[in-house]
């Protein structure tokens, strides 16, 4: 788990470079909350505290939450989400290895349903603020309107579904080249970390590949048919944390599928549902909902994709029932 944290650092570095140190404060808040909540639950459940806290799984959850939340949101947004993730989604279901849902995504889904407005106010790029400004935004005053803006997905969505202004992807990207560049670098950071995880054999190639290929294929075909209504593949990949999802969220070893074929189906499903929610749903980004929906399906997929046991005949080995 510590290597997963290390793999996240290039993306975090790019994030902090373009959007200021707010994200570092959020990471600190989430980590602290996660460790305290984890220790509390382990104590309540009479489990060894230091060994389980030390495995870093709570930290990975915390970091994923902090990275998928707007970096200038109020402090309690991340804290409440982390508490929900660790206390409810992880430990009430039996702790690490038992949770059927991805804890970080439960935290995200809870907060985007509860606070859709706050969750879609992201810092504008180029408005790189110092640590004092970021701290003031996170811990104090409500005068955030000057530096925040909706996510690219959100803006584009409003523009595309609006009656009067039909704005194509190209014009949008041209109007905000700074933002585009920033998200491209952050996505590249996650990609680099993810490739290192692959090289370290911590994650297998199945899930990231299936996720990215599905997303690219859907975006490519749909934007070729109607460019004014759908995003192109590049935009789809760099926005809304798709790259983070591909290597760090979908690949959660506990709540996802475990068989090789199952992993392919799982990640394809997540990408498909994400794309559907992005374009036809009520929320700007659907990765969290897509992951949770596929988490529900994971046990069934696993059951039907059991690999053949070596040495058994086809009719016996194809399924274990």
């Amino acid at each position: 788990m510590l290597r997963v944290l290390a793999a996240l650092t290039p993306g975090i570095a790019a994030y902090a470079w373009f959007f200021g140190p707010g994200v570092l404060i959020q990471l600190g808040l989430a980590s602290l909350t996660a460790l305290l909540a984890e220790a509390l639950m382990l104590k309540l459940r009479d489990r060894p505290i230091w060994r389980s806290v030390g495995d870093g799984s709570a930290l990975v959850t915390a970091w994923l939450i902090a990275l998928s939340f707007p970096s200038t949101g109020p402090w309690w947004l991340v804290v409440v989400a982390t508490l929900a993730a660790i206390l409810v989604a992880k430990h009430l279901y039996g702790g690490l290895g038992q949770n059927p849902f991805n804890p970080a995504m439960v935290g995200f889904a809870l907060m985007i349903v509860a606070y859709p407005l706050m969750m879609s106010r992201w810092p504008g790029a180029g408005a790189a603020m110092d640590i004092g400004q970021a701290g003031a935004l996170i811990f104090g005053s409500h005068s955030v309107d000057t530096v925040t803006m909706a996510t690219p997905l959100d803006t584009l969505r409003t523009a595309m579904h609006g009656v009067e202004t039909k704005l194509s992807v190209e014009t949008f990207l041209q109007s905000r080249p700074d933002l585009h560049a920033a998200w491209k670098w952050i996505a590249a950071g996650y990609l680099a970390g993810g490739l290192w995880l692959l090289q370290q054999r911590i994650i297998s190639w199945h899930m990231p590949t299936a996720f990215l290929v599905t997303l690219i294929a859907l975006a490519g075909v749909s934007s070729a048919i109607d460019p004014s209504a759908f995003n192109g593949p590049l935009f789809e990949l760099i926005s809304g944390g798709a790259m983070l999802a591909a290597f760090f969220i979908v690949t959660d070893p506990v709540s996802g599928c475990t068989t090789p074929r199952g992993k392919l189906i799982f990640a394809t499903g997540v990408a498909l549902i994400t794309w559907i929610i992005r374009h036809f749903g009520g929320y700007p980004d659907g990765i969290a909902f897509a992951v949770l929906l596929m988490n529900v399906a994971a046990p069934l997929i696993d059951m039907y994709t059991q690999p053949k046991v070596f040495g058994l005949k086809d009719d016996q080995g194809s399924r274990h029932d």
């Binding site: 349903v113 509860a114 606070y115 859709p116």
Partner: protein, 231 residues
């Protein structure tokens, strides 16, 4: 007397229509966003259950066994119509808020379940008490659920109380700047809070059972014996 005690305990706790039998969840989840709405619907349900059990218990010897269900539904539907019209006449604002859920009491499975399982087989007094107590069990659960959801969701208590007592006002418990927790008011919040309440009931029951087991063990075994075993 003991039988009546049993009926009261069954209705409010042991066979609680929601926490134990998980019956009638649709109105429970839909109407419990605020305490006032929840308790109003709960009181209407108590009234219907009490009267339905009373009437059916009185008529139980006349209703042929084969067509008892249509007959029960007919009685319940008439009573619900009475309650529905009464709400419309005397608590009109509240009637507009509760809307379809007052007529829907007729489809609430607790009502039919108690009529079928209890009133059709027991005397007048016991049946009336059973209907009332099952209703009380419904009311305290839906009321608590409404209280929790309203408090977490918008930081107030008794919002909408002016629909019943025009002079009264809702109490703002948390400061005005409380951003609210929208999910508590939305349907997922109802499921989550109800889940915690059922877990809480199971925990209390498990603890009580454990205590009773310990007590029985100590009754059966001489104290010196257990002490030596432990030592």
């Amino acid at each position: 007397m003991n039988a009546y005690k049993e009926i009261i305990l069954n209705g409010t706790w042991k066979q609680n229509s929601i926490l134990a039998q998980l019956l009638g969840l649709c109105p429970l989840l839909a109407i419990s966003a605020t305490f006032v709405n929840a308790v109003s619907l709960g009181l209407a349900t108590i009234l219907v259950m009490l009267l339905a059990n009373l009437v059916i218990s009185g008529l139980r010897t006349f209703i042929p066994y084969e067509i008892r269900i249509p007959a029960f539904v007919l009685v319940i539907a008439s009573l619900v119509t009475v309650v529905d019209l009464a709400f419309n006449a005397f608590l009109h604002d509240l009637y507009l808020v509760l809307g379809i859920f007052i007529p829907l009491i007729v489809t609430n499975c607790i009502v039919l379940a108690r009529v079928e399982a209890f009133a059709a087989k027991n005397g007048l007094a016991a049946s009336t008490l059973d209907g009332a107590m099952m209703g009380v069990g419904f009311v305290w659960v839906i009321g608590l659920l409404g209280l929790i959801r309203e408090f977490v969701g918008q930081g107030t208590l008794f919002s909408g109380i002016e629909m019943i007592f025009p002079r009264a006002h809702a109490i703002q418990v948390l400061p005005e700047s409380y951003p609210g927790f929208l999910i508590a008011i939305l349907p997922p919040g109802a499921f989550l809070v109800l889940g915690f309440m059922i877990a809480g009931r199971n925990w209390l029951d498990a603890r009580a059972n454990e205590r009773q087991r310990q007590w029985l063990l100590e009754q059966r075994m001489p104290r010196a014996n257990t002490a030596s075993e432990r030592g």
